[in-house]
């Protein structure tokens, strides 16, 4: 350990001044690409904050931003794996529409007749049923792609039409509303949030998990005698993550319920209104919590499981993966099943937020999801991409859109800007990769 430390510090000391940042980045092993993206996001936020006269970086707007991002972010995590295997899924928006409609019909028209209204099981049966439908759809498309050899572009382009039509056909084009009360919690809102206490509990738990995993990872490398990061680098990483977690919790807790909702809540629960109104913080919204959990699980799947390793190996060299004895076709089917399931989860969030399922739900979402993954550093050539990057990519896209809405930019101009930003982001990324290689 001392050897590695002295080696690194000596290296950093040998290149003073401009080398300081480089030495820091090398010691902390931070992905410079990710750093660039966080930087870009902060710049976008600051610019909008200034242009909007100081309303962008407010708890209320940031809270809304996270809720609006969650559905796309959830789906983008699956799209990363799809694109990493050198495939594409153009059908996610339509799968979202179809599964959303199926879940709405299930909870509003079918289950109440069987279980009665207000049954606590309605939401969970609906959610699991919807995810099952998504997995089956994804599996079907994956089978055609992997075993019948039809290109993913074509299969999912067909799927885009099929499932959009299916959503229409399912309820003869009718909008289904309202949805189950518990199910609606997945959409966020005043009740669909954790509240201040639980948000703090969650934030502290997250900090503990981060600290423990940093220590465990270090111990494990030590036990094998591998080179280690210097202690100060570990501490800096830990500190930055702690500040980010606590800061995010403080922000979402600072967003208080509107006074009308707070008053209604007070009367309903027999609480006396204090002077200056009842101050109840939103805390983390349920859809955001879902997205975070999905992000953690998917990162785990991508980096710590055999399946994830195979996904990346297939993307790097499909022939090599096959020769290594990997059942590449079955892995591909599983990737598309996962994507289908995540699209259904995205549908649950979207429909719950809207408190309805409509025919148009999820239209063009496939393009936002692909854009989020690509802005987040997923290479369309396959083999490279990160879950966290894609989720940040989704946040960047949503920030641009929300910011322009705040500024009152015309809707067609919004699309133009988002489109141009997508192209420029990928161009910058390509240039960066070429230089890094």
């Amino acid at each position: 350990m001392s050897q590695a430390t002295s080696g690194t510090t000596a290296g950093a000391a040998a290149t003073p001044g401009g080398g300081g940042l480089k030495g820091f980045i090398r010691a902390t092993e931070v992905d410079t690409r990710m750093l660039g993206m966080v930087g870009a996001l902060l710049v976008i936020w600051l610019v909008f904050h200034v242009l909007s006269g100081g309303i962008f970086l407010t708890p209320r707007n940031l809270w809304n931003l996270t809720v609006q991002t969650s559905s796309i972010a959830v789906m983008a995590t699956g799209m990363v794996l799809v694109i990493v295997t050198r495939n594409i899924d153009l059908s996610v928006g339509s799968i979202l529409g179809f599964t959303g409609m199926a879940m709405a019909a299930l909870q509003a028209q079918i289950l109440p007749g069987l279980l009665g209204f207000d049954s606590p099981f309605v939401w969970i049966i609906t959610l699991l049923g919807g995810i099952l439908v998504g997995v089956v759809i994804g599996g079907l498309q994956g089978y055609v792609i992997a075993y019948l050899g039809v290109p993913a572009f074509i299969v999912t382009l067909g799927g885009l039409l099929v499932w959009r039509g299916g959503a229409w056909w399912l309820t003869s084009g009718r909008t289904v509303a309202p949805l189950d009360d518990t199910f609606r919690l997945m959409g966020g809102g005043a009740t669909g949030s954790l509240g201040e206490t639980w948000t703090w509990v969650l934030a502290l738990a997250a900090c503990v998990v981060v600290a423990v995993s940093l220590v465990l990872a270090r111990r494990r490398r030590l036990s094998f005698g591998f080179p280690l990061r210097p202690i100060w680098a570990e501490a800096t990483i830990g500190a930055i993550v702690f500040v980010a977690i606590i800061g995010a919790a403080a922000i979402v807790n600072a967003y208080k319920w509107p006074s009308a909702i707070a008053r209604r809540y007070a009367t309903a629960n027999g609480i006396e209104m204090p002077e200056g109104g009842l101050q109840i913080g939103y805390g983390v919204a349920v859809p955001v919590l879902l997205a975070i959990v999905v992000g953690i699980v998917m990162t785990f799947v991508a980096r710590r499981t055999r399946f994830g390793r195979y996904v990346f190996a297939i993307g790097g060299n499909p022939e090599a993966a096959e020769l290594a004895g990997i059942n590449t076709r079955w892995v591909l089917v599983k990737v598309f099943m996962l994507m289908g399931g995540l699209a259904a989860l995205g549908a649950a969030i979207s429909t719950a937020r809207l408190n309805a399922a409509t025919n148009a739900l999820g239209t063009l979402d496939e393009l936002y999801v692909i854009a989020a993954a690509v802005i987040g550093g997923t290479s369309l050539a396959g083999g490279a991409g990160t879950i966290i990057g894609a989720m940040l990519g989704a946040l960047v896209m949503q920030s641009l859109q929300s910011g322009m809405v705040l500024l009152g930019v015309d809707s067609p101009l919004q699309s133009i800007v988002v489109g141009i930003v997508l192209v420029i982001a990928v161009w910058i990324d390509t240039t960066y990769r070429r230089r890094a290689a």
Binding site: R221, F224, T305, I314, G315, G316, A320, A321, L323, A324
Partner: protein, 278 residues
Amino acid sequence: MSSTMEAITDHGPGHPGAVDRSGPALIDMRDISIAFGGIHAVESASVDLYPGEVVALLGHNGAGKSTLIKILSGAYKRDAGTIHVRGEEAAISNPRDAKAYGIETIYQTLALADNVDAAANLFLGREILTAWGTLDDAAMEAEARKVMGRLNPNFRRFKEPVKALSGGQRQSVAIARAILFNAKILIMDEPTAALGPQETAQVGELIKELKKDGIGIFLISHDIHDVFDLADRVIVMKNGQIVGGAKTGDVTKDEVLGMIILGKCPPGATPGPGAMVE
């Protein structure tokens, strides 16, 4: 140089590195045929391999040697013929089957996943898992450091994707992967094509070492000079057929060249179906 030659071609009983012909052949491929869209890439070819033996499979580009060997490694499915491993008929229809029989292959293209690191490539398809069923990257890296230390002691770049490595380093990753899992039969397709003289010599040393352990090795090459000194036996292919086979002690390099170029079998060789009829 000449002493090395002797050591390899002199198969006295009890000699270290001797070819063991007492038992059944490690590999016995009989009348193997495969065609791609009407082109007979391999036509009723038969080859065998004994423990501790190095058999060089020679021929021009397109002679069918890589195709024949890919049938053994499970990458291609044969149209006809049988494969016996240690005297028993083996069903090999994919790379996993071949590995289960202890057949490991170093492909000409190396077949590495360029975007992941050396350890991930070494264990691709055979990952070490923790008690929770997750990837044990630390254990895999430790094993990788061990085996790479033996092959290429200067190798340090364990954290980088293999696309960042030099040709020789990539080659040693591919070789390490083949010997990591106690291979009984090793197939090396143009193993020194990407290597400099020093690294080529290293591969030569490794082959001698593996031979001592009783491993049978197929060496595939289009260049006789690469492999003649290492091989116990040569088998020459031309236009998808076996021209003939011979112990390296019974033929000269020029005679083998004649087999490769003209398909002409010298007196010291056993002619095959592809031999030129005079």
